[in-house]
């Protein structure tokens, strides 16, 4: 689907815990062909404090109802205002933006690794992978049990494992401490990851060691979100590339990460 700027209506607001909500936004137009990993750039209110739009991964798409969902973690003014939207409110949204994850061509066993709010980019990916006949394993990491959200939703699309830093759910430690990254790692045909950069780098390092293809979704700060301001760049083997148009998804072999 071509990128558009539309006023979408908030039709549902689902609070997951004290700081996570899922907003479902309805378009008056027919949606089609949104790729997993693409994002939406949402105008909060254009006010003095929250002047620029805020980018969010497209969490789920419902083509029957022409809605997209976003999962928002409140960390600052913009995300707090968005978390408090009431049903019926209109939001100006530019979407779909960015390139999206590449699905394997043949049925493959894949691993999805999400940390923090990075899990938002992985839900629609998990769904599409399952629909395309791939075997999906999902590993989600968080600080504490309360920060692990949407486990049942993920379980619809694959086997879910968890890690928490304090050991209150699943394996204690970071995602990379999980046994999936030891004996089983090379059994995966591909690893997809989104989360805090140190986590993605640690996952990328293990993927390289085990010779597994790996795509990461970056979250650089953005001004426009559609390739004209050149503010969101990351270093790649081809030079500076915009995360909003060449990404947000990159094959780790293209990134100049010191890992």
């Amino acid at each position: 689907m071509k990128k558009t700027v539309q006023n979408l209506q908030v039709i549902s607001h689902r609070r997951l815990n004290s700081d996570h909500v899922v907003l479902e936004l309805k378009s008056d137009e027919k949606l089609d062909g949104i790729l997993p990993g693409q994002f939406a750039n949402i105008l909060v209110d254009g006010s003095q404090k929250v002047f620029l739009r805020r980018p969010f991964s497209i969490y789920l798409v419902d083509y029957n109802c022409n809605t997209i969902s976003v999962l928002i973690k409140a960390i600052g003014d913009g995300t707090r205002i968005l978390s408090d939207q009431s049903i019926g409110n209109q939001l100006s949204v530019i979407f779909p933006l960015g390139n999206g994850f590449i699905l394997p061509a043949t049925p493959t066993k894949v691993l999805l690794v999400g940390g923090g709010v990075g899990i938002a980019a992985l839900m629609i990916l998990a769904k599409m992978l399952k629909e395309n006949g791939h075997q999906v394993v999902i590993l989600l990491g968080a600080k504490r049990i309360v920060d692990l959200v949407e486990l049942e939703e993920f379980a619809k699309y694959g086997t879910v494992y968890t890690t928490t830093e304090d050991g209150t759910h699943g394996t204690k430690g970071y995602v990379t401490d999980h046994s999936l990254f030891r004996e089983e790692c090379s059994s995966f045909g591909k690893i997809y990851t989104c989360g805090p950069e140190p986590m993605m780098k640690a996952v990328a390092r293990l993927a390289l060691i085990h010779h597994v293809n790996c795509e990461v979704s970056l979250e650089n700060t953005m001004a426009c979100g559609y390739g004209v301001c050149l503010c969101c760049i990351t270093e790649t083997i081809d030079g500076h590339r915009c995360v909003c148009t060449d990404g947000p998804v990159f094959d780790i072999k293209r990134l100049k990460w010191q890992i």
Partner: protein
């Protein structure tokens, strides 16, 4: 519908709304949003003789009613522009200006010479005001002898419309404006971004990799208006005003201060359709105040 046509020293525009360099890519990025032929003109990304990687990430900081950028003129160089971008611009039926920057006078000249050969490019905007490059850039726009040297030299090789873009990072902008006029500029555009800074208190670090960057957006509008007004009262050549224009009312303020046309920059990021709303809003204003043409309000500030 009022008459929005405007003639800027021979540059004929169907309306006085342009887009600002560095905020509109090469125009093609906007084609999904609207027909960009509706614009009076658009100004493409800053172009230099040699390819530039630009500065490292982070290059952007959001600030109250604005943003800082430190892109540092990332571009593929003039050869890349001519071979790969220019062919894509041929299908557009509106004025296109190329924004040109350089580290030395020779680089400006070499770049302008190559653009002079491009039939479909109506003019250049000589950027003597970029605050985000170490050498050159703003240095040419903050000293009268340097501005004189670069404008004079480029004038010798460039035959079409030459707009010169001024830096607001000076004590007296009228001095530079007069020098630029005397050396043969056809028009003056202003303002480029204001040198500024953002600090992250928790980490005690600068937000930008370059420490300082250029401020744009509504935060700079009062300064931009003041400078357009001052320059309008100092030179005879037409002025293209910009700095924080978000809507038609902002644009009208610039016309009243003396601008013959305006450029929309940062507003494109907030609303990709900003220029379309501004064009129709200017028309509404003129009709509401019973003016027949945009020309009737230029410099018509009631003192």
């Amino acid at each position: 519908m009022a008459d929005l046509n405007i003639d800027i020293a021979g540059l004929k525009l169907k309306n006085p709304v342009l887009t600002a360099s560095g905020t509109f890519g090469y125009g093609t990025e906007f084609e999904d949003f609207y027909d960009i032929n509706t614009l009076g003109a658009f100004v493409v990304k800053g172009t230099t003789l040699h390819a530039r990687q630009g500065n490292s990430y982070p290059r952007m900081a959001e600030t109250p009613s604005g943003m800082l950028n430190a892109v540092g003129l990332q571009n593929g160089g003039i050869r890349y522009f001519v071979d790969h971008i220019y062919p894509k611009l041929l299908r557009f039926d509106t004025n296109i200006l190329v924004n040109v920057s350089g580290s030395t006078v020779e680089e400006y000249i070499a770049c302008a010479e190559q653009i002079d050969d491009l039939e479909h490019i109506t003019g250049i905007e000589l950027n003597i005001s970029c605050p985000n490059v170490k050498e050159g850039g703003m240095a040419f726009g903050t000293s009268c002898p340097a501005a004189e040297a670069v404008v004079k030299s480029v004038r010798k090789v460039y035959r079409k419309h030459m707009m010169v873009k001024l830096s607001p990072n000076v004590t007296d902008i009228t001095e530079i404006a007069r020098v630029v006029e005397n050396q043969g500029a056809d028009s003056i555009s202003l303002i480029n971004t204001l040198l500024a800074m953002a600090i992250h208190a928790e980490s005690r670090k600068p937000v930008l990799s370059t420490v300082t960057g250029g401020l744009s957006g509504p935060a700079v509008k009062p300064i931009a208006l003041r400078m357009v007004w001052q320059v309008y009262n100092s030179v005879k050549i037409p002025i293209v005003g910009m700095g924080g224009i978000m809507n038609a009312t902002d644009a009208i303020e610039f016309f009243l201060a003396g601008a013959s046309a305006i450029q929309v920059g940062t507003a494109n990021f907030i609303d990709p359709l900003a220029t379309q709303h501004i064009i129709s809003g200017i028309d509404d204003y003129l009709e509401r105040h019973k003016f027949h043409s945009i020309n009737e309000i230029i410099g018509e500030l009631q003192l």
